[in-house]
């Protein structure tokens, strides 16, 4: 029987030292990405990491009915190809794909019933021939509309 090296699935940050630091990623999230959330209030949760071409990250979050949300997924355009994100339900059905929307960075939505959604993000790969793999910061931010700012109530 041939022996195969078992690939152990792990959930952790990429082990190689990124060219973009986590501090730069935090600055990018705060100064660039967060602006896309306005006028929604940021939920304060920091979800950002350095990704390379082709790499993916997932965010699991509960969204509540009657609340207006904005989801912002932005990658550092100066370093990375377009970032695709999909919104999936718990059964992994695709509810939204920004690829169909010219890689739009944000999506506004409300929910009829509270549920957990999965935001799956992948950095596209470039067709350019290069020895260098592009990498950069990808940030996922969620905002909600304050009670007094909304006029539609469920």
């Amino acid at each position: 029987m041939k022996k195969y090296i078992k690939i152990i699935t792990f959930l952790s940050v990429v082990l190689f030292a990124p060219l973009t630091s986590n501090a730069q990623c935090k600055t990018f999230s705060k100064k660039v990405c967060k602006l896309e959330l306005l006028p929604y209030v940021h939920d304060g949760i920091y979800n950002a990491t350095v990704l390379s071409e082709g790499e993916t990250v997932e965010l699991y979050k509960t969204f509540y009915s009657g609340q207006e949300y904005r989801l912002v997924v932005c990658g550092d355009d100066t370093q990375l190809p377009p970032v695709e994100f999909q919104v999936l339900d718990a059964d992994k059905n695709v509810l939204y794909d920004n690829k169909d929307d010219d890689f739009e960075k944000k999506w506004d939505f409300t929910l009829e019933s509270s549920q957990m959604l999965i935001i799956s993000i992948q950095v596209q790969t470039t067709d350019e021939l290069s020895d260098e793999i592009k990498e950069g910061c990808v940030s996922v931010l969620v905002g909600f509309m304050n009670a007094e700012d909304t006029f539609d109530q469920y």
């Binding site: 029987m1 041939k2 195969y4 078992k6 690939i7 699935t9 959930l11 940050v13 990429v14 986590n22 501090a23 935090k26 999230s29 705060k30 209030v41 940021h42 939920d43 304060g44 949760i45 920091y46 979800n47 950002a48 990491t49 990704l51 082709g54 790499e55 993916t56 990250v57 997932e58 965010l59 699991y60 979050k61 509960t62 969204f63 509540y64 009657g66 609340q67 339900d89 059905n93 509810l95 939204y96 999506w107 506004d108 939505f109 409300t110 929910l111 009829e112 019933s113 509270s114 549920q115 957990m116 959604l117 799956s120 996922v140 969620v142 909600f144 304050n146 009670a147 909304t150 109530q153």
Partner: protein
């Protein structure tokens, strides 16, 4: 003899052939399994678990018609009791939610008190770079402006969260977020008792079972932390009651309203018997009192 030898040769060959076939099948299954694992690996280099922020839960309670009652908040005088990292982190979450509640209801004096308590615990947890004198000044100057205060608080939460992760104390960030979740749920149960039209609040309480799953997933990723293990045990009773929620299944679709906004539609309904709902309220109160009295 020759025939016997040939027979053995044929049998041996057949056995080998069967063994080869079995090996090939095993190999194929192994390849498929590794491919799936590799795909799973490629599918997520990192997984984030995100919980409701303090402001989010309070925002929903306000929309549901909840009325402010200061008696439900964790008294700021309790802050001197919190001497361990676990109790400090949990109650930083608790006080953050209380601060959100007071600020969204324009309770400026109370907000100031909870700001002080929050700052003290942030100092104890080594988060003073995040809650710097400048940040405190901004909060004090904006104590009357709930939107600015909410924005500043979300910045603090974001910076605390990332700072703790960078320092290798991500489990402390998880405990803080769990504290905000517990307090938000506790306030919801108290407000449900005191709000005439409380159906929406009750629905919100039942819906919190979904984020509890995320909390447990998040906490279980730190299974080498004694503080986290204790917290998982503390949450067990609430988890067990939420497991009794019955949910009808329904397909999820996305539609647009008349303004072109996206609505994720799912007609599923979640129910919990009155008896179990009351048990849940008691369990949440016990949990919250345990963490606020330690």
């Amino acid at each position: 003899m020759i025939m016997a030898a040939m027979g053995f040769a044929v049998m041996f060959s057949a056995c080998n052939s069967q063994d080869d076939t079995a090996d090939k099948i095993d190999d194929a299954l192994e390849i498929e399994k590794n491919a799936k694992e590799e795909k799973a690996l490629k599918q997520a280099q990192e997984v984030f678990y995100s919980l409701p922020a303090p402001g989010e839960t309070i925002n929903m309670l306000k929309k549901a018609g909840a009325k402010y009652n200061e008696e439900f908040l964790n008294p700021t005088t309790n802050v001197s009791k919190y001497t361990t990292t676990r109790s400090q982190a949990l109650n930083l979450g608790v006080y953050s939610t209380d601060l959100s509640f007071a600020s969204i209801e324009h309770q400026q004096q109370t907000s100031s008190l909870y700001l002080v308590a929050t700052k003290k615990l942030a100092e104890e947890l080594g988060l003073m770079d995040v809650v710097s004198p400048e940040t405190m000044k901004r909060m004090e100057n904006n104590i009357e402006n709930k939107d600015s205060l909410q924005t500043i608080m979300s910045e603090i939460l974001m910076s605390s969260n990332s700072s703790l992760k960078e320092d290798g104390r991500a489990q402390v960030a998880a405990i803080i977020l769990t504290g905000t979740w517990i307090e938000g749920l506790y306030l919801a149960t108290k407000l449900a008792e005191n709000t005439e039209t409380n159906a929406k609040i009750k629905e919100l309480i039942i819906d919190h079972r979904i984020s509890l799953k995320t909390i447990n997933q998040l906490l279980n990723s730190f299974d080498d932390s004694e503080d986290v293990k204790t917290l998982i045990e503390d949450l067990a009773e609430v988890t067990a009651i939420y497991d009794k929620v019955e949910t009808t299944s329904s397909k999820t679709v996305v539609e647009k309203d008349e303004k072109g906004n996206s609505i994720i539609k799912n007609a599923s309904v979640s129910t919990l018997s009155d008896e179990e709902f009351n048990n849940l309220v008691v369990a949440i109160a016990n949990l919250r009192n345990k963490i606020s009295n330690n």
